[in-house]
């Protein structure tokens, strides 16, 4: 796995997931959003993600909580295959804006 955060302007951060999105991403993922300014918009880009497990779902939920406290929003983009199925079975469509 690897994780890359790209800032787009002052109020948008793109978190790009490469390979397996699991517990090994935990510290990097937390770092990607902690200390972000109020109202930051997050885009979690799954284009290069090949797999995700329940730990990844847990991390996404904590990001959502962070955003709810700080204001802002989260969008999950480019989901396909296994990652899309996992988000689907966990009913994340009710909680996040998900773009295939």
């Amino acid at each position: 796995m690897s994780l890359e955060t790209v800032k787009q302007g002052d109020s948008c951060r793109v978190i790009k997931i490469n390979g397996r999105f699991d517990f090994s991403c935990h510290s990097a993922f937390r770092e990607a959003y902690s200390g972000s300014p109020t109202g930051t918009e997050f885009i979690v880009d799954m284009a290069e993600a090949s797999y995700m497990d329940s730990a990844a779902l847990g991390m996404l939920l904590l990001l959502r909580e962070h955003v709810q406290q700080q204001g802002g929003k989260v969008t999950i983009t480019n989901c396909r295959g296994q990652t899309y199925d996992v988000l689907q079975i966990a009913n994340f469509h009710r909680l996040f804006k998900i773009v295939q």
């Binding site: 497990d53 329940s54 730990a55 991390m59 296994q82 009913n91």
Partner: protein
């Protein structure tokens, strides 16, 4: 000669009449048997179709019960398909909730770890203080030597200060050791929580997919059976309607009996003309009789029973 011939003719005509009579009653009896056979066969067929109809209806009812248990939305969570689906959702929700809380615990462990590192810094500071204190005690001891007897009391104080400095160093070591043990436990909790957080959801996805496929297949079977049972019902209805031929056959047989009886009557009348009318006056009544007999050659009109009489209420 003519009398003998007339006598023979009379005998022949009587015999002819007897044969015609016997043949017509034989034909009547045969037709009656045929009518009975048709009636019995029709009754049996009718009963068979009724039984088939009833069996198809109860089969459909049984299948409806099964499909209701699987699909009926009115049964809500009690239906097999929806309760399995709900259970699976609940399971996945629970797994995700545990994962989120485990990740949260790990985040809090990171905070805790930072705090614990602070304790180590404090222990290092205590060590520094102990070193300085020990140095002061050492210096004080040198001074008491110089002071001789006057410094004897102060030497006790210097020794006590040294003892306290050593005690501080021991304490800070103890703290460092405790922190080290604490870190070991934190690492263990971290590992356990990471394990709790990480679950592969592939099997849940497969099961969910399998359930959807099973529901789809059952639905298809259900629809197929519906169509099939409707076809059976229609066919039974057609068959029951077709059994109305009994009525038509009975009409034809009745008409045949009447025709045979009339043929017998005409024969008797022809014999009477031949026997009683004087020679030379037979042609006219015989021609008249033949004219009358022509109606025997007409086709019998059969009334077809109305469709309503043959309609069977299916299901």
């Amino acid at each position: 000669m003519a009398e003998t011939d007339a006598k023979h003719l009379r005998e022949a005509l009587r015999e002819y009449e007897a044969v015609v009579h016997s043949a017509t009653s034989m034909i009547r009896s045969d037709l009656e048997r045929a009518r009975t056979m048709v009636r019995d066969a029709t009754a049996r067929l009718s009963r068979s179709f009724d039984a088939l109809h009833a069996a198809a209806a109860s089969q459909r009812a049984a299948l409806l019960n099964v499909s209701t248990a699987f699909f009926d939305p009115e049964h809500g969570n009690r239906s097999f398909a929806s309760s399995t689906e709900a259970l699976m959702r609940q399971f996945v929700d629970e797994v995700v909730r545990v994962s989120r809380d485990s990740v949260r615990i790990i985040d809090q462990l990171a905070e805790l770890s930072t705090q614990v590192s602070g304790i180590v810094v404090s222990a290092d500071a205590i060590d520094g203080l102990a070193r300085e204190t020990r140095f002061i005690a050492f210096n004080a001891r040198i001074e008491t030597h110089r002071a001789g007897d006057a410094g004897r009391t102060f030497k006790v104080v210097a020794d006590e200060v040294k003892r306290l400095a050593n005690a501080s160093a021991t304490l800070s070591n103890q703290i460092r050791q405790n922190v080290s043990e604490c870190n070991t436990h934190l690492a263990q909790v971290h590992k356990t929580s990471a394990g709790l957080a990480s679950h592969d959801l592939s099997r849940a996805i497969e099961s969910h997919r399998g359930l959807s496929v099973a529901i789809g297949k059952l639905d298809a079977v259900n629809q197929e059976l519906d169509t099939m049972l409707e076809t059976v019902a229609t066919s039974v209805g057609e068959a029951v309607r077709a059994l109305q031929f009994e009525d038509m056959v009975t009409q034809i047989l009745n008409a045949s009996v009447a025709r045979v009886e009339r043929l017998g009557e005409y024969s008797v009348r022809a014999l009477q003309i031949l026997e009683r009318a004087p020679v030379g006056e037979r042609a006219a009544p015989m021609t008249e009789l033949v004219q009358e007999m022509r109606s025997l050659g007409e086709r019998i009109a059969v009334q077809q029973a109305t469709v309503d009489q043959g309609t069977v209420e299916l299901f």
